[in-house]
Amino acid sequence: MSQKQSDVAILIPAYNEETTLSDLIDRLRSELPNCGIIVMDDGSVDQTAEVARSAGAVVLRLPFNLGIGAAMQTGYRYAKRKGYRIAVQVDGDGQHPPEEIHRLIEPIRQGADLVIGCRFLGRGDFKSPLMRRLGMLFFSFTISTLVGRRFHDTTSGFRAAGRSVIEYYSDHYPSDYPEPEAILLLCRAGFDVREVPAKIVERGGGHSSITAIRGVYYLFKVFLAIAMGTLRPVRRPGRENE
């Protein structure tokens, strides 16, 4: 930790990811040697926190399981307090390749507020089950319609955020299945949100948190949240939530 720290923080939400985490952290280290690596351990019951800590990551251990949204927000709060200029969201299961992170960071350095690594813009050949594809299409269509701009991959969790978004997300970040809603929030608050093609690979371990029954709840919750989000007054940067 004696060498100069970079201004980039990698935020990794993890729930029982002990098998993939140490490998991921090693790869991140060799790809971005000086970046801060922060693992938000969302109340795991396995050795996630210990594995991440011995691999050299900062571990924010939540006392109980809060869900991906709240875990992610914890990371943003940490990044805000530590003064990081860029935060990159990377899944703990290794489906977001560290080599691709530079592609996300680059537009932020040039002034974008949020950059989404998109599966469907040409790089890599991401295959997923039909139902998931339909759900993804549905959200992308809904968000695109509401925002008035085409988004291709609103469920991708591979994202980079600039300082203003780090501050904004510290105060306002959706819970449960946050990805589509998190885009909507930013667009409505007037942030510059962009998509870049990114390679996303098969899961290295663990499995999707979205099972068949949860899928229905997922669709309903996100749709309701998006609908209510458009009816709600815009949350401008700088106002603390309760």
């Binding site: 201004d7 251990r61 006392p63 709240a70 914890t74 709060r77 307090r81 939530n241």
Partner: protein, 124 residues
């Protein structure tokens, strides 16, 4: 004509005991005052309806309900629904607050760890 019959007596005693129970819970600090308002109103309405039977009859007629006791069920049901909704609002607020607290705990534990390891250096 305030003839007190058995049913009325039972319902007066019942709703009085409910009110007393509610007030006693507040007194002992088991029920917070801020959440007790709906309960007190519920108890008071039940008591009022059992003392003045004409009230229930008039209410039923006004709503076009032929059998007055079913108006009582309606009142009860509406109150119960309101109470449950009230609780859902409270539960949502509590879970939002506990989420914030849990996040703070995670951040504070990390900050403490940093201090303990004697490397509190900030990035610029």
């Amino acid at each position: 004509m305030m003839m007190i019959d058995r049913v009325q007596l039972v319902s007066i005693v019942g709703s009085l005991s409910l009110l007393v129970l509610i007030l006693e819970l507040i007194r002992r600090g088991k029920l917070a005052e801020r959440y007790s308002l709906l309960w007190i109103v519920t108890g008071a309405v039940l008591l009022g309806l059992s003392i003045w039977r004409g009230l229930l009859d008039n209410f039923a007629v006004a709503l076009g309900i032929f059998y007055p006791p079913s108006a009582l069920f309606l009142v009860g049901l509406v109150f119960v629904l309101l109470l449950i909704l009230h609780f859902s609002v409270i539960v949502s607020r509590l879970s939002r607050r506990s989420r914030l607290l849990a996040q703070e705990v995670a951040l504070l534990k990390e900050a403490l760890r940093e201090i303990q390891e004697g490397m509190g250096e900030e990035i610029d």
